[in-house]
Symmetry: C2
Subunit: 397 residues, 2 copies
Amino acid sequence: MGNSFRIESSTDGSLARAGVIETAHGAIETPAFIPVGTKATVKAVTPEALGTLRTQAVLANTYHLYLQPGPELLESAGGLGKFMGWHGPTMTDSGGFQVFSLGAAFGKRLSKFGNRKEESEKIEESLPLAKVDDEGVTFRSHRDGSEHRFTPERSIEIQHAIGADIIFAFDECPSPETDHDYQREAMERTHRWALRSLARHKELGEGSAGDQLLFGIVQGGRFEDLRRESAKAIGEMGFDGFGIGGTFLKEDMGNAVRWVNELLPKDKPRHLLGIGEPLDVLIAIENGCDTFDCVAPTRAGRTGTIYTGEGKINIGNAKFEKDFSALEVGCDCYTCKNFTRAYLHHLFDAHEMLAATLASIHNLRFIVRLVENAREAIVRGEFKKFSEEFLSRYIKI
Amino acid sequence: MGNSFRIESSTDGSLARAGVIETAHGAIETPAFIPVGTKATVKAVTPEALGTLRTQAVLANTYHLYLQPGPELLESAGGLGKFMGWHGPTMTDSGGFQVFSLGAAFGKRLSKFGNRKEESEKIEESLPLAKVDDEGVTFRSHRDGSEHRFTPERSIEIQHAIGADIIFAFDECPSPETDHDYQREAMERTHRWALRSLARHKELGEGSAGDQLLFGIVQGGRFEDLRRESAKAIGEMGFDGFGIGGTFLKEDMGNAVRWVNELLPKDKPRHLLGIGEPLDVLIAIENGCDTFDCVAPTRAGRTGTIYTGEGKINIGNAKFEKDFSALEVGCDCYTCKNFTRAYLHHLFDAHEMLAATLASIHNLRFIVRLVENAREAIVRGEFKKFSEEFLSRYIKI
């Protein structure tokens, strides 16, 4: 594994840095926001539109693709990127988070932040417990209840078949309410699984074309000692880069990320898994993350929640019915250059599919551009100023 | 009303012709297939994609836009084209067909061809009868049951507010099973309404910018004497062009269109309302129609029915699961150049929104290209040969 990352600029008094990750399908200028294409499609958005809004890479979910259409099909298709018509860099996560959040491992659903107790309880009642052991995780499909098993080796094999440029070691992802004892147990298991993931990756020739980058995942929940211990352990294993995984209480995210990034090797890229709200992204950049993926911009877009520099607006609100201004004045996206708030209001009111497409394009462009601008600010040595200015406007509403 | 149509080529032994309609938003080379954007959006397709597949114009439905978002809003927005981000020519129908098909006029639903008896009966039971009289039609909204009234004058006023380049006179559209006596009554009313539509159009200054073209609609059902009588009457009224309206039994369409087009003034364009299946389009061209609109390509696309030169295929069929060829080999559309049958099969299987978008783009391009090719064949004097060759392949499956 050669070094596929170079840092172009570090910054003033924070961990923020600007860099470039080289992959088999092109470079990713970091920091970069990576849209999620769960089932080999960024929902409601064509790859052509993704390119136009300057998306640099797409992340798909191993758990979902494993269940549908299956890794064999993706391998026959020539890999994820070719299958979905996206010619730039691709990533897959390890399936770890989804096994615990969508699958019924532990009989519990898990969200990125600890706030879905009621739903967890419902699932617990309706499905038998699945089982995590040192070998791997047995879980039930959220689609049909069928039983499946992931091990670190199996996750890597699946990700090799899917063929993304950047793949992740298999990890255990406990609930954010989990106590220190269990977080330690899960973290230590994640470290053993990381070594097994690495070993299987090397056996398989580091990807079918020898060019997949493998990132190890740091765990440890909200506990500083565990996060630091995990960063140190995973950091020494020889991965091409790192994922920061697990769930946190929302207010702990910045700390958890900083603890980790202070210890991870500086010359390798760091991906924060599943984070994508504008404020969270700025906190992640400030604390040394290079890339992040999240469904938030597209999920919000599909329900009519629109990102603007002054905060989010709900385009379904009656006050936008006759508002013939752009979703966000000055935005350079296809939606803002061609359509008005009144038109988007109408499309959502009429339940037209184009509503989701146009809103998703804007929200993705908003967050991609925010991160582009953050990068430029880092290069200029003005990231803190940039971040403060953005935050002073964004929280107004 | 000056003449906005010129014929470039007539053809060998049929009524087919190639021409150009000039509108305030550009020219339409005819014959042309016009995609339907019912509620000011061609479902699941961006205006940018419509342009890429060489759509020349879009037709929206007055009935739907009247109910949502309302003509006042469209007028404030600067008209239909500006509102929906489509910068080429636009059309609106008169609302006549929809009042009878979606509204509850006569307590009956109506489809373009006479084949929905069961549904008609259901509607008849569940809603009170609406009423057509010499003044206009009172109907109930299909959305909320609220009562509304269209007159010829009101239809024209609404269409002026919506602001499309080509608009239609208000007509009565009886069921295809209607007997000769009622068809005559409805046709004669349609003729009186045509004169009232023309008068209101002139009063309003032929469009807010004086540049809307008004087409009169020929009725008469499946009866040769009525169709010819209607063509003669409407043809003499001084419209900018003509719509051929009404419903037919499917096998009668070619005849009904020929009877009409043999009598309509040759120097004005003729639009066949609501027709768009590949075979029907070729019959319409052969019998002298210049433009046609239909939801069929996009509606079929949304359910996974894909047009190909060999006939339609259902992409959800298991045999396409591992088929890595294009939807249609040789097709120049965005979908066929970038994606495989296997990918579309997966998107439909996973209920992904992109499925509808990509399938609609292909189906629209298929029918737009079919008509482009028909036009070139007319210019070469080889339309009959072209049509026969297409039909010999298309009916194979």
